[in-house]
Amino acid sequence: MTGSRTAFVGSYRLGLMAWLVASSLSFGGANAAETSAVRKPPVGKQTTTKKPAAKKLSAAELARQIDVHVARSLDAKKIPTSPRSEDAEFMRRVYLDVTGTIPPLDRVEPFLNDSRSDKRARLIDELLGTEEYARHMTDQWREFLIPNTAASARRRHETGIQWLEAAFRTNRPYDEFVRGVLTADGMQRNNGATTFLLTHQSLDEATDRLSRVLLGVQITCAQCHDHPFADWKQDDYWGTAAFFSKVKHQYERIERVEHYGVSERGERKPMMVPPSHRVVPPTFLGGTRPQLDPDEPYLPVFVDWLSSAENPYFARAFANRLWRKLMGRGLVEPVDDLREANPGTHPELLALLGEQFRRNGFDVHYLIRAVALSETYQRTSRSLDANRADAEWYSHMPVKVLTPYMLGDSIQTVMLLGDTPAATPATAAPTKPATPPAAASGKPPAEPSADDQLKAAQRARSTRDQFASFFRGEENPAPTLYETGMPQALRLMNSQDMFRGSRVVGVLSQKNKQPEKVIEQIYLAALARRPTGDERRIVLGYVKSQPDATRAMTDVVWALLNGTEFVTNH
């Protein structure tokens, strides 16, 4: 295998050169100075590899660069920026973005009262180390990597989910993560990473999804004919697909239980091949064909190319997706349409993010930290009259909508307060990572000792999954898209689960005798802020007007959880 790898490296470096020049030209196209510097004839070996910011930057340095790039375009457009978020707004935002849930009540006031100047940076670091972070990243990557089809829904993918959680818990470098996904070999029960190839039934399904997610390109339309708008040709599509052509689904039956797996070396049936299939040798986007050993797996070679410095898509695709998640909008939209004719709003910034992500060892924490530390990220969502119309230049943080999992988990964070009278910081507070499993060493997670363990984990997830699937809308929606329909609103208003708030009120009333104080605690629990004067007046008036004070307070919890502020991240 190593032999075949060295064989292609030499040839494709040179072969790709001309194309890379073209590519960096257009990706950096907004900056005239830079463009003209690159517009030399692409001859020789060292003329063009010079990229912006060749230096490795720390997260704080990258954060400053983000602000510089964003300020440049805002200045050019004469759009003023909104001020920095207040602590409460920032805290709730970063909790939601990093851990997928609102801050638990007992964490809110200590942060608001903390006077250290670096408390925001500290909070970011702390949250990246929580179990909730791993869970939240897993929720997102499940959707990216496991198709939501009837065929895949028929089976449980517990080991795959555990594999994702272990990867994010240990902050596995993204290139290694992708290597795990694409070169997984064995049975699913032993190696959860096989789940992703396993859940793709056909060659085109795997090619479509993985090229969109990992490379950020839409070559799907080129399956049957050359792409109507983009430059993708049928050969790009089938050349990429050819890397998946050796993947075979494995199957075995032990004690009447069916087990599945994948391998590039196995004997069993390959993925189904669609009728429109064209036989093209494995080809990287851009046209280079690596020399491959027909007896060896192809996907390791594909992964080498993905994460190589010459690949203009891989790191940018991740950075763009992450940016979209945190900032509400991709630097390139749609996020799976990176191509020369679609450079997006800040092509140099995206190139920089991708470059630094790669230079910092594809460290996912690093990239999140850099974005979250930037002033761009930390601006309030309150627009000014003069920047209200701006939806793409980051003059203020857009109001994002909680995803179904975020909404369910946030409701639970509030409701858990009522579950044990002792207010349970142990369950409500973010948990520290569990003892690092074997996955930390880069090996697959330890094999679960029993099916029972898997089943227990599945049961624990099923409530979350059930809630999320009821709220689920279109695939990979814009972070700002409000997708609640009438059935979802009815559930939030009327399901019994939403009236568990009475127990929360019970617990808070025990600890706080004054109604004003209870109201304040309810606000801190649900919205991570204290009520305004108006709100205190409205709520207190309401409670006094009602015959039953506990019921009235329960209505307050209900009203806050049903409000726009709760279901959004701002």
Binding site: C221, S383, D555, G563, H570
Partner: protein, 429 residues
């Protein structure tokens, strides 16, 4: 220019009668139609042939050569045999024996010719009439257009209901805004759940007033269009909770015999639910039958799907007829495209170039075939029907003026149907 300003607080209690026209809500896309004229005021409405519509959506793309456009002389086109129908000269697939007896109610359009070959793009094209993001506009789906143009703004139930496994953007209201989004029913035998609020009605009223009061602060401070969307959705949901009409969503109120007639499966129950909703004045119902993407085992799958389609569709048409509703109800059978007329392996691929749709009800001339595909079903030889033609046909029947100019929030004029459509006038002859 008509962007709603959330600094203007909505008056107390207003949202309990929120759905009574005119409440400006921001659309998801940020575009808002500046026009207020409703179709009922235009002369098109008077020319409407139907008051309501059901779309039977064969998701994944049904093969024309296995259903309504068989090619018995070309062996490669399929294994299923044609059978005679109630109408001499018209043959359909042996897999649809019940429907063959009511083909006199249907016009079979064998000359659909469209351009999108990929599911998601084709779904957008066939549901909205425009290609995905064409011109940078968030185009509304036909259901949303009907909701806006012929829906009763005072109705308790939404005008547009989609019975579908999956929500995706092709159903979306686009620039028409949240008010015209579909209500999705994912499980027709369960209908819509959580319609009853715990506690006494006055408790609910008090809670809702509290919510309304507390909403003002966020709407004022953040000025996000989501505040308006939220209000619209909650307002509509509350109105539905309070309406006796909501029981239309409960198919278990039908007799067992009636449920058997439609078929006790997702599609059959969906068709039955559609009929109940039409009786409750819902204007546009889509019923999905998923699974037509037969790349691999076409014949087995098609056999199974037709076994579900045949009783469901036949029961819907005959039941509507028995209730006197068929004459002013349009029923359309369609997918996002067809499938390759020849096999590739054991499957069929996506195929937009030539395929088939059906029109029923709405006083159309039934028992006829419109258009023709060639001997191998690969191209259209007579009367090609584009997406624009197709959309304009439905708009015409529903009394929706698709030539009318709609001015978007940025001043750009658009129409509901793209340039120069040629409606299928042969439906009425």
């Amino acid at each position: 220019m008509n962007r709603p300003d959330f600094q203007v607080p909505l008056s107390r209690r207003e949202w309990l009668r929120l759905s009574t026209a005119g409440v400006a809500t921001a659309s998801l896309s940020g575009w808002l139609p500046a026009m207020a004229a409703r179709a009922s005021e235009t002369k098109r409405a008077a020319e409407a042939r139907a008051k309501r519509i059901v779309v039977l959506w064969m998701d994944g793309g049904p093969p024309h050569t296995d259903t309504f456009d068989l090619k018995p002389d070309v062996a490669e086109c399929g294994i299923f045999k044609p059978i005679d129908t109630k109408v001499p000269g018209i043959q359909i697939s042996e897999l649809l024996p019940r429907f063959s007896k009511i083909v006199d109610r249907a016009a079979i359009v064998r000359s659909m010719s469209t351009i999108e070959n990929e599911h998601n793009r084709a779904r957008v094209h066939l549901r909205t009439g425009f290609r995905d993001s064409q011109g940078g506009v968030a185009w509304p789906s036909l259901g949303s257009i009907c909701s806006q143009e012929i829906g009763d703004p005072n109705a308790d139930l939404p005008s547009y209901v989609a019975i579908a496994e999956r929500r995706d953007k092709s159903f979306a209201p686009g620039f028409l805004g949240t008010r015209h989004q579909p209500l999705f029913v994912t499980n027709p035998s369960k209908g819509v759940e959580n319609l009853a609020a715990p506690g006494a009605p006055e408790q609910l009223a008090a809670r809702l007033d509290l919510l309304d009061d507390l909403e003002q602060g966020f709407a004022r401070d953040y000025r996000s269009p989501i505040s308006g969307d939220h209000k619209t959705v909650y307002g509509r949901a509350v109105q539905m909770m309070r309406s006796s009409k909501a029981k239309a969503f409960d198919v278990t109120q039908e007799s067992d015999a009636m449920r058997e007639r439609y078929g006790k499966n997702r599609f059959g129950e969906g068709c039955l639910l559609a009929r109940r909703l039409l009786e409750a004045d819902v204007k546009y119902v889509e019923v999905g039958l998923e699974g037509w993407d037969t790349h691999f085992e076409n014949n087995d799958q098609i056999k199974k799907l037709c076994g579900t389609l045949d009783p469901g569709m036949t029961a819907l048409i005959t039941d509507l007829e028995e209730r006197g509703l068929l004459d002013d109800t349009l029923v359309v059978w369609m997918g996002e495209f067809g499938r390759t007329p020849k096999f590739k392996g054991k499957g069929r691929d996506h195929y937009a170039k030539a395929w088939t749709t059906l029109f029923m009800g709405a006083g159309i001339t039934g028992g006829q075939v419109i258009g023709r595909s060639d001997a191998t079903g690969a191209t259209v030889e007579d009367r090609p029907v584009s997406v624009q033609d197709f959309m304009a046909t439905i708009c015409g029947i529903m009394g929706v003026d698709c030539e009318k100019e709609v001015v978007l929030a940025d001043g750009r004029p658009v129409k509901f149907v793209d340039k120069d459509p040629k409606p299928i006038t042969e439906l009425y002859r």
